[in-house]
Amino acid sequence: MDAQKEQALLDTLRRVFDATIKDDFPLETLEEFVSEVVMGFGSTADERILDLAGFRKLMEIQREQSLGMNLRFETKPIFKKIFAQENAAIFTHDFIITLTIGETENVLPLRFSSVFEFNDERWKLIHWHGSQGVDSEGDTWHRNELIKKNVALQKLVDEKTSDLHRKNAELESAIQTLKETQQQLIQQEKLASLGQLTAGIAHEIKNPLNFVNNFSELSQDFISEIEEELSKPVDKLDVGNILELLEDVKSNLGKIRHHGSRADSIVKSMLMHSRGGTGIMEPTDLNALIEEYSNLAFHGMRANKNPINVEIKLDLDPTIGLVSLNSEDFSRVILNLTKNAFDAMRDKISMVGSDYKAKLEIRTKHLPNRVLIEVEDNGPGIPEEIRDKLLLPFFTTKKGTEGTGLGLSITHDIIKSHLGTLEIESSVGEFTRFTLVLPNTKT
Protein backbone atom coordinates (compact mmCIF):
# COMPACT_ATOMS: atom_id res chain seq x y z
CA MET A 1 0.00 0.00 0.00
CA ASP A 2 1.38 3.41 -0.78
CA ALA A 3 2.27 5.66 2.11
CA GLN A 4 -0.44 8.18 1.41
CA LYS A 5 -3.21 5.59 1.49
CA GLU A 6 -1.80 4.05 4.70
CA GLN A 7 -1.61 7.48 6.35
CA ALA A 8 -5.22 8.08 5.36
CA LEU A 9 -6.18 4.78 7.03
CA LEU A 10 -4.36 5.69 10.28
CA ASP A 11 -5.95 9.19 10.27
CA THR A 12 -9.38 7.60 9.92
CA LEU A 13 -8.67 5.27 12.85
CA ARG A 14 -7.55 8.23 15.00
CA ARG A 15 -10.68 10.21 14.14
CA VAL A 16 -12.80 7.27 15.26
CA PHE A 17 -11.09 7.27 18.71
CA ASP A 18 -11.27 11.06 18.97
CA ALA A 19 -14.93 11.15 18.01
CA THR A 20 -15.65 8.64 20.75
CA ILE A 21 -13.88 10.50 23.55
CA LYS A 22 -13.19 14.16 22.81
CA ASP A 23 -16.10 16.44 23.62
CA ASP A 24 -15.00 19.10 21.14
CA PHE A 25 -14.86 16.75 18.16
CA PRO A 26 -16.92 18.16 15.25
CA LEU A 27 -19.60 15.51 14.92
CA GLU A 28 -20.86 17.04 11.64
CA THR A 29 -17.73 15.53 10.02
CA LEU A 30 -18.70 11.94 10.93
CA GLU A 31 -19.93 11.09 7.46
CA GLU A 32 -16.41 11.80 6.11
CA PHE A 33 -15.01 8.70 7.84
CA VAL A 34 -17.99 6.60 8.93
CA SER A 35 -19.95 4.52 6.41
CA GLU A 36 -23.68 5.05 5.89
CA VAL A 37 -24.14 1.38 6.73
CA VAL A 38 -21.78 1.23 9.73
CA MET A 39 -22.66 -1.52 12.17
CA GLY A 40 -21.32 -1.92 15.67
CA PHE A 41 -21.75 -3.26 19.16
CA GLY A 42 -20.90 -1.13 22.15
CA SER A 43 -20.12 -2.33 25.67
CA THR A 44 -23.68 -1.94 26.95
CA ALA A 45 -26.67 -4.04 25.96
CA ASP A 46 -28.50 -1.20 24.19
CA GLU A 47 -25.52 -0.23 22.08
CA ARG A 48 -26.43 -1.97 18.81
CA ILE A 49 -25.75 0.48 16.05
CA LEU A 50 -27.05 -0.24 12.51
CA ASP A 51 -26.32 2.93 10.52
CA LEU A 52 -24.60 6.30 10.51
CA ALA A 53 -27.56 8.02 12.13
CA GLY A 54 -27.44 5.53 15.01
CA PHE A 55 -23.70 6.07 15.32
CA ARG A 56 -24.17 9.83 15.46
CA LYS A 57 -26.82 9.47 18.11
CA LEU A 58 -24.55 7.26 20.19
CA MET A 59 -21.81 9.88 19.99
CA GLU A 60 -24.24 12.62 21.07
CA ILE A 61 -25.43 10.57 24.01
CA GLN A 62 -21.89 9.77 25.07
CA ARG A 63 -20.97 13.44 24.89
CA GLU A 64 -23.99 14.38 27.02
CA GLN A 65 -23.16 11.73 29.62
CA SER A 66 -19.49 12.68 29.81
CA LEU A 67 -20.32 16.26 30.84
CA GLY A 68 -18.39 17.18 33.97
CA MET A 69 -16.17 14.13 33.70
CA ASN A 70 -12.57 14.46 32.80
CA LEU A 71 -11.99 11.75 30.13
CA ARG A 72 -8.58 10.58 29.00
CA PHE A 73 -7.70 7.58 26.90
CA GLU A 74 -4.83 5.60 25.55
CA THR A 75 -4.80 2.98 22.85
CA LYS A 76 -2.51 0.00 22.49
CA PRO A 77 -2.57 -1.81 19.15
CA ILE A 78 -2.93 -5.55 19.43
CA PHE A 79 -3.64 -6.71 15.93
CA LYS A 80 -3.74 -5.18 12.43
CA LYS A 81 -4.44 -6.71 9.01
CA ILE A 82 -4.87 -5.19 5.60
CA PHE A 83 -6.88 -7.48 3.36
CA ALA A 84 -5.95 -8.43 -0.18
CA GLN A 85 -6.47 -5.73 -2.81
CA GLU A 86 -5.91 -3.29 0.06
CA ASN A 87 -9.59 -2.28 0.18
CA ALA A 88 -10.30 -3.39 3.72
CA ALA A 89 -8.47 -3.31 7.06
CA ILE A 90 -9.09 -4.62 10.56
CA PHE A 91 -7.58 -3.31 13.84
CA THR A 92 -7.82 -4.52 17.38
CA HIS A 93 -6.84 -2.28 20.32
CA ASP A 94 -6.85 -2.13 24.05
CA PHE A 95 -8.79 1.12 24.47
CA ILE A 96 -8.22 2.25 28.03
CA ILE A 97 -10.37 5.15 29.18
CA THR A 98 -9.74 6.99 32.45
CA LEU A 99 -12.72 8.90 33.85
CA THR A 100 -12.28 11.32 36.71
CA ILE A 101 -15.54 11.79 38.62
CA GLY A 102 -15.02 14.33 41.38
CA GLU A 103 -11.84 13.23 43.13
CA THR A 104 -12.03 9.62 42.05
CA GLU A 105 -10.30 8.15 39.03
CA ASN A 106 -11.98 5.18 37.36
CA VAL A 107 -10.39 3.06 34.68
CA LEU A 108 -12.59 1.54 32.00
CA PRO A 109 -10.51 -1.03 30.06
CA LEU A 110 -12.24 -1.65 26.74
CA ARG A 111 -11.32 -4.02 23.94
CA PHE A 112 -12.00 -2.44 20.66
CA SER A 113 -12.10 -3.92 17.12
CA SER A 114 -12.68 -1.80 14.04
CA VAL A 115 -13.08 -2.66 10.35
CA PHE A 116 -12.49 -0.09 7.59
CA GLU A 117 -13.47 -0.17 3.94
CA PHE A 118 -11.75 1.79 1.13
CA ASN A 119 -14.30 3.14 -1.32
CA ASP A 120 -14.27 6.18 -3.63
CA GLU A 121 -10.73 7.08 -2.47
CA ARG A 122 -11.79 7.20 1.23
CA TRP A 123 -11.38 4.93 4.25
CA LYS A 124 -14.57 4.64 6.26
CA LEU A 125 -15.47 2.76 9.42
CA ILE A 126 -17.79 -0.06 8.43
CA HIS A 127 -17.88 -2.15 11.62
CA TRP A 128 -16.74 -1.87 15.22
CA HIS A 129 -17.08 -3.75 18.46
CA GLY A 130 -16.22 -2.47 21.90
CA SER A 131 -16.55 -4.57 25.02
CA GLN A 132 -15.35 -4.81 28.58
CA GLY A 133 -13.92 -8.12 29.82
CA VAL A 134 -15.88 -9.57 32.72
CA ASP A 135 -14.09 -9.91 36.03
CA SER A 136 -13.15 -13.53 35.66
CA GLU A 137 -10.40 -15.36 33.92
CA GLY A 138 -10.27 -18.73 32.19
CA ASP A 139 -14.06 -18.95 32.51
CA THR A 140 -15.37 -19.35 29.01
CA TRP A 141 -18.98 -20.08 29.91
CA HIS A 142 -19.02 -17.52 32.78
CA ARG A 143 -19.73 -20.33 35.23
CA ASN A 144 -17.59 -18.92 38.00
CA GLU A 145 -18.93 -15.47 37.33
CA LEU A 146 -22.51 -16.72 37.61
CA ILE A 147 -21.69 -18.56 40.82
CA LYS A 148 -20.03 -15.40 42.15
CA LYS A 149 -23.11 -13.41 41.23
CA ASN A 150 -25.39 -15.95 42.91
CA VAL A 151 -23.25 -15.89 46.04
CA ALA A 152 -23.37 -12.11 46.06
CA LEU A 153 -27.15 -12.19 45.56
CA GLN A 154 -27.58 -14.79 48.30
CA LYS A 155 -25.49 -12.63 50.60
CA LEU A 156 -27.65 -9.63 49.81
CA VAL A 157 -30.81 -11.66 50.39
CA ASP A 158 -29.40 -12.96 53.69
CA GLU A 159 -28.53 -9.44 54.79
CA LYS A 160 -31.98 -8.13 53.89
CA THR A 161 -33.63 -11.13 55.54
CA SER A 162 -31.74 -10.70 58.79
CA ASP A 163 -32.56 -7.00 58.56
CA LEU A 164 -36.24 -7.91 58.28
CA HIS A 165 -35.95 -10.39 61.15
CA ARG A 166 -34.39 -7.73 63.33
CA LYS A 167 -37.01 -5.14 62.40
CA ASN A 168 -39.73 -7.72 62.95
CA ALA A 169 -38.40 -8.46 66.42
CA GLU A 170 -38.24 -4.74 67.16
CA LEU A 171 -41.86 -4.32 66.05
CA GLU A 172 -42.99 -7.30 68.08
CA SER A 173 -41.33 -5.95 71.19
CA ALA A 174 -42.87 -2.52 70.51
CA ILE A 175 -46.31 -4.14 70.21
CA GLN A 176 -45.66 -6.07 73.42
CA THR A 177 -44.73 -2.85 75.21
CA LEU A 178 -47.89 -1.20 73.88
CA LYS A 179 -50.01 -4.11 75.06
CA GLU A 180 -48.43 -3.99 78.52
CA THR A 181 -48.93 -0.23 78.70
CA GLN A 182 -52.55 -0.66 77.64
CA GLN A 183 -53.06 -3.30 80.35
CA GLN A 184 -51.47 -0.97 82.91
CA LEU A 185 -53.72 1.89 81.82
CA ILE A 186 -56.80 -0.32 82.09
CA GLN A 187 -55.66 -1.49 85.53
CA GLN A 188 -55.03 2.11 86.58
CA GLU A 189 -58.45 3.10 85.37
CA LYS A 190 -59.93 0.23 87.37
CA LEU A 191 -58.07 1.35 90.48
CA ALA A 192 -59.12 4.96 89.87
CA SER A 193 -62.77 3.94 89.68
CA LEU A 194 -62.27 1.81 92.80
CA GLY A 195 -60.85 4.93 94.48
CA GLN A 196 -63.96 6.91 93.59
CA LEU A 197 -65.99 4.06 94.99
CA THR A 198 -64.10 3.64 98.23
CA ALA A 199 -66.19 6.16 100.11
CA GLY A 200 -69.38 4.67 98.73
CA ILE A 201 -68.22 1.20 99.64
CA ALA A 202 -67.15 2.29 103.13
CA HIS A 203 -70.60 3.79 103.62
CA GLU A 204 -72.26 0.67 102.28
CA ILE A 205 -70.27 -1.60 104.62
CA LYS A 206 -70.60 0.67 107.63
CA ASN A 207 -74.35 0.79 107.37
CA PRO A 208 -74.99 -2.97 107.68
CA LEU A 209 -72.25 -3.28 110.29
CA ASN A 210 -73.99 -0.64 112.41
CA PHE A 211 -77.16 -2.69 112.20
CA VAL A 212 -75.27 -5.86 113.14
CA ASN A 213 -73.76 -4.11 116.17
CA ASN A 214 -76.98 -2.44 117.26
CA PHE A 215 -79.26 -5.44 116.85
CA SER A 216 -76.84 -7.77 118.67
CA GLU A 217 -76.42 -5.27 121.51
CA LEU A 218 -80.20 -4.93 121.78
CA SER A 219 -80.57 -8.71 121.77
CA GLN A 220 -78.11 -8.99 124.66
CA ASP A 221 -80.08 -6.38 126.58
CA PHE A 222 -83.33 -8.23 125.89
CA ILE A 223 -81.86 -11.56 127.02
CA SER A 224 -80.72 -9.94 130.27
CA GLU A 225 -84.20 -8.53 130.67
CA ILE A 226 -85.68 -11.99 130.10
CA GLU A 227 -83.31 -13.45 132.71
CA GLU A 228 -84.35 -10.73 135.12
CA GLU A 229 -87.98 -11.52 134.44
CA LEU A 230 -87.38 -15.24 134.93
CA SER A 231 -85.75 -14.64 138.32
CA LYS A 232 -89.07 -13.28 139.60
CA PRO A 233 -91.40 -15.56 141.56
CA VAL A 234 -93.63 -17.62 139.27
CA ASP A 235 -96.84 -15.76 140.16
CA LYS A 236 -95.22 -12.41 139.24
CA LEU A 237 -93.89 -13.60 135.85
CA ASP A 238 -94.92 -11.42 132.93
CA VAL A 239 -94.99 -14.14 130.28
CA GLY A 240 -96.34 -11.71 127.71
CA ASN A 241 -93.31 -9.47 128.15
CA ILE A 242 -90.96 -12.45 127.90
CA LEU A 243 -92.59 -13.65 124.69
CA GLU A 244 -92.46 -10.13 123.24
CA LEU A 245 -88.76 -9.83 124.06
CA LEU A 246 -88.07 -13.28 122.61
CA GLU A 247 -89.88 -12.31 119.43
CA ASP A 248 -87.65 -9.21 119.12
CA VAL A 249 -84.51 -11.29 119.75
CA LYS A 250 -85.57 -13.72 117.07
CA SER A 251 -86.30 -10.97 114.56
CA ASN A 252 -83.01 -9.26 115.45
CA LEU A 253 -81.03 -12.42 114.77
CA GLY A 254 -82.63 -12.53 111.32
CA LYS A 255 -81.67 -8.89 110.75
CA ILE A 256 -78.09 -9.50 111.93
CA ARG A 257 -77.85 -12.31 109.45
CA HIS A 258 -79.34 -10.19 106.66
CA HIS A 259 -77.02 -7.24 107.25
CA GLY A 260 -74.01 -9.52 107.72
CA SER A 261 -74.52 -11.09 104.33
CA ARG A 262 -75.17 -7.65 102.86
CA ALA A 263 -71.73 -6.50 104.05
CA ASP A 264 -70.25 -9.76 102.84
CA SER A 265 -71.62 -9.33 99.32
CA ILE A 266 -70.36 -5.75 99.18
CA VAL A 267 -66.85 -6.87 100.11
CA LYS A 268 -67.10 -9.64 97.53
CA SER A 269 -68.12 -7.31 94.74
CA MET A 270 -65.41 -4.87 95.74
CA LEU A 271 -62.81 -7.62 95.46
CA MET A 272 -64.30 -8.68 92.17
CA HIS A 273 -64.07 -5.13 90.92
CA SER A 274 -60.39 -4.64 91.76
CA ARG A 275 -59.22 -8.06 90.60
CA GLY A 276 -57.53 -8.54 87.21
CA GLY A 277 -59.82 -9.39 84.33
CA THR A 278 -60.52 -13.05 84.93
CA GLY A 279 -64.26 -12.74 85.08
CA ILE A 280 -66.36 -15.19 83.15
CA MET A 281 -69.72 -14.88 81.45
CA GLU A 282 -72.46 -16.33 83.59
CA PRO A 283 -76.19 -15.89 84.04
CA THR A 284 -76.49 -12.73 86.13
CA ASP A 285 -79.33 -10.85 87.78
CA LEU A 286 -78.74 -7.69 85.75
CA ASN A 287 -81.40 -5.68 87.60
CA ALA A 288 -79.76 -6.44 90.95
CA LEU A 289 -76.36 -5.52 89.54
CA ILE A 290 -77.73 -2.18 88.30
CA GLU A 291 -79.35 -1.48 91.68
CA GLU A 292 -76.17 -2.32 93.57
CA TYR A 293 -73.74 -0.38 91.42
CA SER A 294 -75.87 2.70 90.81
CA ASN A 295 -76.26 2.84 94.59
CA LEU A 296 -72.50 2.47 95.15
CA ALA A 297 -71.80 5.14 92.56
CA PHE A 298 -74.35 7.44 94.23
CA HIS A 299 -72.86 7.04 97.71
CA GLY A 300 -69.35 7.33 96.27
CA MET A 301 -70.34 10.62 94.65
CA ARG A 302 -72.10 11.83 97.83
CA ALA A 303 -69.02 11.09 99.94
CA ASN A 304 -66.57 12.71 97.54
CA LYS A 305 -65.89 16.32 96.65
CA ASN A 306 -68.87 18.48 95.54
CA PRO A 307 -71.71 16.06 96.22
CA ILE A 308 -74.97 16.85 94.45
CA ASN A 309 -78.56 15.82 95.04
CA VAL A 310 -79.87 13.47 92.42
CA GLU A 311 -83.17 11.74 92.09
CA ILE A 312 -82.38 8.24 90.93
CA LYS A 313 -85.26 6.45 89.24
CA LEU A 314 -84.86 2.79 88.48
CA ASP A 315 -87.37 1.28 86.08
CA LEU A 316 -86.24 -2.32 85.87
CA ASP A 317 -88.16 -4.90 83.86
CA PRO A 318 -88.42 -8.07 85.99
CA THR A 319 -89.08 -10.20 82.90
CA ILE A 320 -85.52 -9.88 81.55
CA GLY A 321 -84.54 -12.86 83.70
CA LEU A 322 -80.89 -13.81 84.06
CA VAL A 323 -78.59 -12.21 81.47
CA SER A 324 -75.30 -13.80 80.46
CA LEU A 325 -72.72 -11.29 81.70
CA ASN A 326 -69.20 -10.90 82.90
CA SER A 327 -70.53 -9.16 86.01
CA GLU A 328 -67.11 -7.84 87.04
CA ASP A 329 -66.72 -6.03 83.74
CA PHE A 330 -70.33 -5.05 83.39
CA SER A 331 -70.47 -3.46 86.83
CA ARG A 332 -67.84 -1.04 85.50
CA VAL A 333 -70.17 -0.11 82.64
CA ILE A 334 -72.89 0.87 85.14
CA LEU A 335 -70.39 2.69 87.36
CA ASN A 336 -68.86 4.63 84.47
CA LEU A 337 -72.18 5.66 82.96
CA THR A 338 -73.69 6.75 86.29
CA LYS A 339 -70.54 8.57 87.31
CA ASN A 340 -70.43 10.44 84.00
CA ALA A 341 -74.07 11.39 84.48
CA PHE A 342 -73.37 12.73 88.00
CA ASP A 343 -70.40 14.76 86.73
CA ALA A 344 -72.45 16.19 83.84
CA MET A 345 -75.37 17.11 86.09
CA ARG A 346 -72.99 18.75 88.59
CA ASP A 347 -71.76 20.94 85.70
CA LYS A 348 -75.34 21.88 84.88
CA ILE A 349 -76.04 22.80 88.50
CA SER A 350 -73.09 25.19 88.50
CA MET A 351 -74.33 26.62 85.19
CA VAL A 352 -78.05 27.08 85.81
CA GLY A 353 -78.28 27.10 89.60
CA SER A 354 -80.26 25.16 92.15
CA ASP A 355 -83.68 25.43 90.48
CA TYR A 356 -82.56 22.56 88.30
CA LYS A 357 -83.41 19.14 89.75
CA ALA A 358 -80.88 16.52 88.71
CA LYS A 359 -82.48 13.24 87.73
CA LEU A 360 -80.94 9.96 86.63
CA GLU A 361 -83.10 7.23 85.16
CA ILE A 362 -81.94 3.70 84.52
CA ARG A 363 -84.27 1.40 82.65
CA THR A 364 -84.12 -2.22 81.56
CA LYS A 365 -86.51 -3.73 79.06
CA HIS A 366 -86.95 -7.20 77.66
CA LEU A 367 -86.73 -7.38 73.84
CA PRO A 368 -86.94 -10.57 71.76
CA ASN A 369 -83.59 -12.32 72.33
CA ARG A 370 -82.13 -9.09 73.62
CA VAL A 371 -82.15 -6.83 76.63
CA LEU A 372 -82.24 -3.04 76.46
CA ILE A 373 -80.54 -0.88 79.08
CA GLU A 374 -80.97 2.88 79.11
CA VAL A 375 -79.06 5.30 81.29
CA GLU A 376 -80.52 8.78 80.93
CA ASP A 377 -79.71 12.00 82.73
CA ASN A 378 -81.30 15.45 82.41
CA GLY A 379 -77.89 17.13 82.47
CA PRO A 380 -76.35 19.62 80.04
CA GLY A 381 -76.32 17.23 77.06
CA ILE A 382 -73.47 16.54 74.67
CA PRO A 383 -72.78 18.93 71.77
CA GLU A 384 -73.10 17.29 68.35
CA GLU A 385 -69.49 18.03 67.37
CA ILE A 386 -67.96 15.94 70.16
CA ARG A 387 -70.50 13.13 70.19
CA ASP A 388 -68.57 10.85 67.85
CA LYS A 389 -65.33 11.45 69.75
CA LEU A 390 -66.78 10.30 73.07
CA LEU A 391 -65.73 6.68 72.70
CA LEU A 392 -62.16 7.44 71.65
CA PRO A 393 -59.52 6.55 74.22
CA PHE A 394 -58.08 9.56 76.07
CA PHE A 395 -60.85 11.89 74.90
CA THR A 396 -62.14 13.84 77.88
CA THR A 397 -64.00 17.07 78.49
CA LYS A 398 -63.03 17.06 82.15
CA LYS A 399 -60.52 19.55 83.43
CA GLY A 400 -56.98 18.75 84.53
CA THR A 401 -56.57 15.34 86.08
CA GLU A 402 -60.27 14.78 86.74
CA GLY A 403 -60.75 12.41 83.82
CA THR A 404 -58.48 9.85 82.20
CA GLY A 405 -60.51 9.79 79.00
CA LEU A 406 -60.63 6.02 79.28
CA GLY A 407 -63.96 5.53 81.06
CA LEU A 408 -66.26 5.53 78.03
CA SER A 409 -63.69 3.87 75.79
CA ILE A 410 -63.39 0.96 78.24
CA THR A 411 -67.17 0.93 78.67
CA HIS A 412 -67.56 0.58 74.92
CA ASP A 413 -64.94 -2.20 74.78
CA ILE A 414 -66.76 -4.12 77.52
CA ILE A 415 -70.10 -3.79 75.72
CA LYS A 416 -68.49 -4.98 72.47
CA SER A 417 -66.97 -7.96 74.27
CA HIS A 418 -70.54 -8.82 75.31
CA LEU A 419 -71.52 -8.64 71.59
CA GLY A 420 -73.68 -5.65 72.47
CA THR A 421 -74.12 -2.17 71.04
CA LEU A 422 -73.92 1.31 72.54
CA GLU A 423 -75.75 4.33 71.18
CA ILE A 424 -75.70 7.89 72.42
CA GLU A 425 -78.56 10.31 72.01
CA SER A 426 -78.49 13.78 73.43
CA SER A 427 -80.09 17.18 73.18
CA VAL A 428 -78.01 20.07 74.46
CA GLY A 429 -79.50 21.53 77.63
CA GLU A 430 -82.02 18.71 77.96
CA PHE A 431 -80.78 15.15 78.24
CA THR A 432 -78.21 12.51 77.42
CA ARG A 433 -79.24 8.91 76.91
CA PHE A 434 -76.92 5.94 76.59
CA THR A 435 -78.71 2.97 75.06
CA LEU A 436 -77.17 -0.47 75.41
CA VAL A 437 -78.50 -3.58 73.75
CA LEU A 438 -77.13 -6.97 74.77
CA PRO A 439 -77.97 -10.38 73.38
CA ASN A 440 -80.17 -12.27 75.82
CA THR A 441 -81.30 -15.77 75.07
CA LYS A 442 -83.48 -16.53 78.05
CA THR A 443 -82.72 -19.86 79.66
Binding site: H203, K206, N207, N210, F211, N213, N214, F215, L218, F222, D248, S251, N252, K255, H259, F298, H299, R302, A303, N309, V310, E311, I312
Partner: protein, 126 residues
Protein backbone atom coordinates in the same frame (compact mmCIF):
# COMPACT_ATOMS: atom_id res chain seq x y z
CA UNK B 1 -93.92 13.91 122.45
CA UNK B 2 -94.02 12.96 118.75
CA UNK B 3 -90.73 12.36 117.01
CA UNK B 4 -90.22 11.65 113.31
CA UNK B 5 -87.18 9.74 112.06
CA UNK B 6 -86.28 10.03 108.35
CA UNK B 7 -83.93 7.48 106.81
CA UNK B 8 -83.95 5.47 103.60
CA UNK B 9 -82.90 2.33 105.53
CA UNK B 10 -86.10 0.53 106.55
CA UNK B 11 -84.52 -1.37 109.45
CA UNK B 12 -83.93 1.95 111.18
CA UNK B 13 -87.56 1.73 112.30
CA UNK B 14 -87.13 -1.57 114.20
CA UNK B 15 -83.82 -0.44 115.62
CA UNK B 16 -85.16 2.81 117.05
CA UNK B 17 -88.40 1.25 118.29
CA UNK B 18 -86.36 -1.32 120.21
CA UNK B 19 -83.81 1.19 121.49
CA UNK B 20 -86.60 3.42 122.80
CA UNK B 21 -88.76 0.46 123.88
CA UNK B 22 -89.16 1.66 127.43
CA UNK B 23 -89.77 5.29 126.56
CA UNK B 24 -92.41 4.24 124.05
CA UNK B 25 -94.06 1.81 126.49
CA UNK B 26 -94.24 4.45 129.17
CA UNK B 27 -95.90 6.82 126.68
CA UNK B 28 -93.12 9.36 127.11
CA UNK B 29 -92.50 9.51 123.37
CA UNK B 30 -94.26 8.47 120.21
CA UNK B 31 -92.19 7.55 117.12
CA UNK B 32 -93.03 7.81 113.43
CA UNK B 33 -90.86 6.93 110.46
CA UNK B 34 -90.49 8.17 106.92
CA UNK B 35 -88.17 6.70 104.31
CA UNK B 36 -87.63 9.75 102.13
CA UNK B 37 -87.71 13.52 102.44
CA UNK B 38 -90.88 13.65 100.38
CA UNK B 39 -92.63 11.12 102.62
CA UNK B 40 -91.50 13.07 105.69
CA UNK B 41 -93.06 16.27 104.35
CA UNK B 42 -96.28 14.37 103.65
CA UNK B 43 -96.33 12.99 107.21
CA UNK B 44 -95.70 16.43 108.71
CA UNK B 45 -98.22 18.10 106.39
CA UNK B 46 -101.00 15.69 107.34
CA UNK B 47 -101.91 17.65 110.43
CA UNK B 48 -101.97 21.40 110.70
CA UNK B 49 -100.25 22.44 112.83
CA UNK B 50 -98.28 19.18 113.03
CA UNK B 51 -98.03 17.49 116.41
CA UNK B 52 -94.39 16.52 115.79
CA UNK B 53 -91.91 18.25 117.99
CA UNK B 54 -88.69 16.82 116.73
CA UNK B 55 -87.39 15.43 113.40
CA UNK B 56 -84.20 13.43 113.08
CA UNK B 57 -83.12 13.06 109.46
CA UNK B 58 -80.43 11.24 107.59
CA UNK B 59 -78.57 13.43 105.07
CA UNK B 60 -77.72 11.08 102.23
CA UNK B 61 -80.91 9.82 100.74
CA UNK B 62 -81.94 9.34 97.12
CA UNK B 63 -84.14 12.16 95.91
CA UNK B 64 -84.43 14.97 98.43
CA UNK B 65 -81.41 15.07 100.72
CA UNK B 66 -81.70 15.60 104.48
CA UNK B 67 -80.32 19.12 104.14
CA UNK B 68 -83.00 20.05 101.61
CA UNK B 69 -85.60 18.55 103.95
CA UNK B 70 -84.17 20.65 106.77
CA UNK B 71 -84.65 23.83 104.69
CA UNK B 72 -88.21 22.79 103.78
CA UNK B 73 -89.16 22.06 107.39
CA UNK B 74 -87.60 25.29 108.66
CA UNK B 75 -89.61 27.24 106.07
CA UNK B 76 -92.93 25.47 106.46
CA UNK B 77 -92.85 24.40 110.13
CA UNK B 78 -90.33 26.65 111.88
CA UNK B 79 -91.44 25.47 115.34
CA UNK B 80 -90.28 21.88 114.72
CA UNK B 81 -86.77 21.03 115.91
CA UNK B 82 -84.57 19.21 113.40
CA UNK B 83 -81.31 17.33 113.99
CA UNK B 84 -79.24 15.59 111.39
CA UNK B 85 -77.93 12.04 111.52
CA UNK B 86 -75.26 11.27 108.94
CA UNK B 87 -72.51 8.82 108.17
CA UNK B 88 -70.63 11.74 106.64
CA UNK B 89 -69.63 14.01 109.51
CA UNK B 90 -67.60 16.36 107.34
CA UNK B 91 -67.46 20.02 108.29
CA UNK B 92 -69.20 21.07 105.09
CA UNK B 93 -72.34 19.08 105.94
CA UNK B 94 -72.11 20.12 109.60
CA UNK B 95 -71.75 23.83 108.80
CA UNK B 96 -74.54 23.76 106.27
CA UNK B 97 -76.89 22.00 108.70
CA UNK B 98 -76.09 24.36 111.53
CA UNK B 99 -76.43 27.45 109.34
CA UNK B 100 -79.82 26.19 108.18
CA UNK B 101 -81.06 26.03 111.74
CA UNK B 102 -80.43 22.41 112.73
CA UNK B 103 -80.52 21.80 116.49
CA UNK B 104 -77.90 19.07 116.53
CA UNK B 105 -75.70 16.86 114.42
CA UNK B 106 -75.28 13.14 115.13
CA UNK B 107 -72.86 10.90 113.28
CA UNK B 108 -73.45 7.24 112.45
CA UNK B 109 -73.01 4.87 114.19
CA UNK B 110 -75.44 6.67 116.45
CA UNK B 111 -74.41 7.18 120.05
CA UNK B 112 -77.75 6.19 121.61
CA UNK B 113 -76.85 7.52 125.05
CA UNK B 114 -76.36 10.97 123.58
CA UNK B 115 -79.51 10.63 121.50
CA UNK B 116 -81.53 9.51 124.55
CA UNK B 117 -80.35 12.39 126.70
CA UNK B 118 -81.09 14.82 123.87
CA UNK B 119 -84.63 13.45 123.64
CA UNK B 120 -85.02 13.39 127.44
CA UNK B 121 -84.03 17.02 127.61
CA UNK B 122 -86.59 17.87 124.95
CA UNK B 123 -89.29 15.87 126.79
CA UNK B 124 -88.53 17.84 129.94
CA UNK B 125 -89.01 21.13 128.08
CA UNK B 126 -92.44 20.08 126.85
Amino acid sequence: MKILFVDDERDVEDLFRQKFRKEIKSGEIELAFAFSGKEALNVLGDENPPKFVYVFSDINMPGMSGLELLDEIKTRFPEIQVSMISAYGDSENYDRAMNSGARGFFTKPVDFERLKSEIAEMVKKQ
